[in-house]
Amino acid sequence: MKKFYSNKIAIVLFALPALALFTVMVFYPIVQVFLKSFYDWNGLGSGTFIGLDNYTTLFKDTVFHLSNKNALIFAIVITVFQMTLATIFSIVVSNKKMKGRGFLRVSYFIPVVLSVTVVCQLWLAILNTDTGLLNAIFKALGIDFQQNWLANRHKAIYVIAFVNAWQWMGYQFALLMAGIKSIPSDYYEAAKIDGASSIMAHRKVTIPLLKETYKICLTISLTGGVKAFTEMFIMTKGGPGNATYTLTYLMYKAAFREFRYGYGMAAASMLVLQCLAIILIINWLFRDKEERSERKCNKRMARQLSQ
């Protein structure tokens, strides 16, 4: 192994294809996005350099602020929903004594393999004001809670976030399940001997040891929430009006419907920065905890040694 790492040519040869692909397919377009955001550009030709004008307009745009607010709501709703349920379900399903584990495992994951369009159409039918299943259930139960689920300017974003959360919860569930499986059973046995209940064992063993998995789950759901687009595109077209716009939708509208590609690129740049900020914050939060726990451990050990 040491010999391999000392072979610089081999390292370069192996890393180069992936690096080249990343540079061409990801890095170069991102650089282009930032560059073009300083241009008045209609998508064709080279455009005119206008400095920060696109950004000035963007920050004054009420839809930009609404989009950010919606993205935040969307990200929080799906993160809370997915991570809470995925944690509960994965812990429950990981119990070997439980009957029907296989069935539940598949059931939770099925929405993930469905096409987003299919899921959205399914929920559109369920949420239909006049003929939808949801309103019909409320009516049958005599509960006066029937409403225009997707036509409410304040609630529509929550409804769409729920649809996304419902579909992708299974993905988080699969990640957490894989994480739980990698925890040695000795830890639980030790906890049991120490008198810990099942809930206590999961609280003190499972969840702390899933820290890295949670980090990935959090990154996926928060960045996924911030750049949400598909559900609103299919279900509400950003509506009613622009009530369910996110930054991605704003970018789409500016570039593809208004042919203001420069403005769209400014929105896209903000999106890239937001995603980067989220990743940095998550990394910082988790690294900080790691360091803190390491420091605490060291202190404890030092105290024990001195005694």
Partner: protein, 452 residues
């Protein structure tokens, strides 16, 4: 064994890649061959003066065309035009790529990557973009040499010439109209008079709702129809409607536009539309009207044939209601709708640009013929010498009788040249379809868009 499998897979990958490349190379060879043949044929054609009867050119070429081909209204004219093309241009083959319903994104991508088809259908907003980037051919000469220009109805000249006086596309649709349809049988059943004023309309809404009938079904998932609804109301106060705003001749803060927004908000609150109006698509809304679940329906005049086929004599159209009877009478000659300098355009970088332009003109003319003959609409751009296969629907005859008296038309949403205003109008009129969005917010946002 693993090594062997990996080797076989790599081999398959390499071979398939090479086959793909070789196919492309073959295609390129074939294209070159076609070009050479075309050049040879062109020379031969020029040398040969007499062409067989009905043949306009014997040039040989395969042309790529990007055109609408989705429903009967687009398939029937296209298929007819292709059949006619086989006679007039026997050596021209069309390779159709149906147009995607994607706000023109695919076409933009083609233009940006230099892959525009030889002939393509284009909307006005894109013409402006393509003009700047040199992706659209000026068709003035071809329009003259083919006689296309002379065949355009005087009343449709506005849809032939661009703002700069040039011809960039061969139109086939004439000026079209937003029509307020209603189900006569439902109106009679519930003793509701055809409303002339908004007050009468509100009374009708109340009656229909009390009897479980949706007053008007609307496909609010599509922004153009909500924009049309707003335009219909705006024209009651200002004949310029949304066209005036698009042309930069007014602001959304003007009285007419504020009153129209107020009126639409009132109608929405009164329950004029179905509950899920903002997510209802065309098929769903149309079904509601055709099945008798809804009493009224807003659409273009092209819907007359389908409506008549399904509802027979029970369907008719009404003049747009207005704020009082006097303005109702005066407003009978003021319509929402219109046309724009859009249609079949040609890629100037096409190897067969001249031929493509002639074919585009030919196709547009044949579209007009097919629309008159098979689609029951005389509202086409060209004066074509054909008779309808069946009689025009009664509603169309009624509209035809009114056409000479029409003094003002506005624009359809897709004919708006200011893309930012168009998008805002679509979004904001959809927003007005919900009760808790105020007309003041609507006006403010629309005005913001106009100022951008």
């Amino acid at each position: 064994m693993r090594k062997l499998t990996a080797l076989v897979l790599c081999g398959v990958l390499c071979i398939s890649t090479l086959v793909g490349c070789s196919k492309k190379a073959n295609n390129e060879k074939a294209e070159n061959k076609t070009t050479n043949t075309t050049e040879t044929t062109t020379t031969t054609t020029e040398e040969t003066e007499a062409l067989p009867e009905g043949v306009l050119s014997e040039e040989k070429a395969t042309l790529k065309i990007y055109a609408q081909y989705a429903d009967e209204d687009t398939k029937v004219p296209y298929d007819y035009a292709v059949e006619q093309l086989k006679v007039a241009y026997p050596n021209v083959t069309l390779e159709l790529e149906p147009q995607a319903q994607d706000d023109g994104q695919k076409l933009m991508t083609y233009a940006a990557t230099g892959n525009l088809p030889d002939i393509y259908q284009v909307a006005l907003a894109q013409i402006e973009n393509f003009k700047q980037s040199g992706n659209i051919m000026v068709l003035n000469d071809v329009a003259k040499s083919t006689g296309f220009e002379d065949k355009v109805f005087d009343s449709a000249k506005n849809i032939l010439y661009n703002e700069d006086g040039n011809i960039y596309a061969f139109p086939y649709a004439g000026n079209e109209y937003v029509v307020w349809y209603y189900n006569k049988a439902i109106f009679e059943k519930y003793n509701v008079e055809v409303p002339k004023t908004f007050d009468q309309l509100l009374t009708a809404i109340e009656t229909f709702k009390a009897n479980g009938i949706v007053p008007m079904s609307m496909f609010g998932a599509e922004g153009w129809i909500t924009a049309a609804m707003y335009d219909v109301l705006a024209t009651r106060w200002d004949a310029g409607g949304i066209a005036k705003l698009d042309n930069g001749e007014g602001t959304a803060k003007e009285d007419a536009y504020a009153k129209a927004a107020d009126m639409l908000h009132t109608l929405v609150k009164a329950g004029m539309f179905q509950g899920s109006v903002t997510t209802t698509n065309y098929d769903q809304a149309s079904e509601m009207f055709l099945n008798g679940e809804a009493a009224m329906f807003l659409n273009g005049q092209w819907y007359m044939t389908d409506a008549t086929n399904k509802l027979g004599d029970d369907v008719d159209w009404m003049y747009y209601p207005s704020y009082d009877e006097a303005s109702y009478e005066a407003g009978k000659t003021v319509w929402s709708g219109g046309g724009a300098a859009a249609g079949y355009a040609v890629n100037p970088n096409s190897k067969n640009a001249e031929l493509a332009a002639k074919v585009a003109a030919f196709l547009s003319e044949k579209y007009c013929e097919a629309k008159v003959m098979y689609r029951g609409t005389p509202l086409v751009a060209l004066d074509v010498d054909v008779q309808p296969e069946t009689e025009f629907p009664a509603m169309m005859k009624k509209l035809q009788a009114d056409l000479p008296a029409i003094t003002s038309i506005t624009k359809f949403d897709w004919h708006l040249s200011n893309a930012t205003f168009k998008t805002a109008l679509e979004d904001q009129t959809k927003y007005l379809m919900i009760e808790d969005y105020t007309p003041e917010e609507f006006i403010k946002e629309l005005n913001n868009a106009l100022q951008q």
